[in-house]
């Protein structure tokens, strides 16, 4: 990953799609839209460029030490790496996860076909009909 370009209150992050998938970039951007203004452009095929600008860049009484755009850009990169790792692990363990889920459901018996007919004895059935 190239280092982000910080210009005034804005960070530009060029991201190589051979390293970071579109899904990882989108999930990360979604997470950051509460703290930053985010714009994604695609200057070239295989490159996504993310522009970040902090929403609260000025100190206030409630927030006397707002995060600088440099710190936010660093957090963005960390979170992006985290998301990409999750996606990679999800793909690598997809078959195993499917097997585990299938086994769990088969042991719980919820995947068995229901027994044909009524499981109650005929006396119970006739009593319930009389009540209705």
């Amino acid at each position: 990953m190239q280092p982000p370009t910080i210009d005034n209150d804005q960070a530009l992050l060029p991201l190589d799609e051979t390293i970071y998938s579109r899904d990882a970039v989108l999930r990360t951007c979604y997470w950051f839209t509460d703290r930053c203004y985010v714009f994604i452009s695609r200057p070239d095929k295989g490159i996504l460029q993310v522009s970040l600008r902090a929403k609260d860049s000025k100190a206030t009484l409630e927030n006397p030490n707002p995060l600088t755009i440099g710190i936010l850009a660093g957090e963005f990169q960390n979170y992006l790496l985290d998301q990409q790792l999750r996606i990679d692990i999800e793909q690598q363990t997809r078959e195993l996860r499917g097997l585990l889920i299938a086994k769990a459901f088969s042991e719980a018996g919820v995947m068995d076909d229901p027994v044909p007919g009524d499981a109650r004895d005929p006396v119970q059935i006739s009593e319930s009909r009389q009540i209705v």
Partner: protein
């Protein structure tokens, strides 16, 4: 192209056209948005209306992006 600009090229690889259309409707009380077709997407020019919040362009882009992401991830 940066967040300081007025015109933004929204690649259809990232931004869903119907999500952008929805965002334009939602923000119509705060800004006018002119749309033009470009290669691989659309270009939007955002003009804030008088009295609109200063960062209305950023809010518009965030909204369009969030709607697009929700759409992409629900299709995945």
């Amino acid at each position: 192209m940066t967040l300081s600009d007025r015109t933004f090229e929204l690649s259809d690889y990232v931004y869903a056209t119907d999500a952008v259309t929805r965002a334009i409707e939602i923000f119509s009380g705060h800004c006018t948005v002119v749309v033009a077709d470009v290669d691989h997407g659309i270009a939007v020019t955002v003009e804030p209306l008088p009295g609109a919040p200063t960062m209305i362009t950023g809010e518009f882009l965030n909204y369009a992006l969030n709607l697009s992401i929700e759409q992409h991830l629900s299709e995945a």
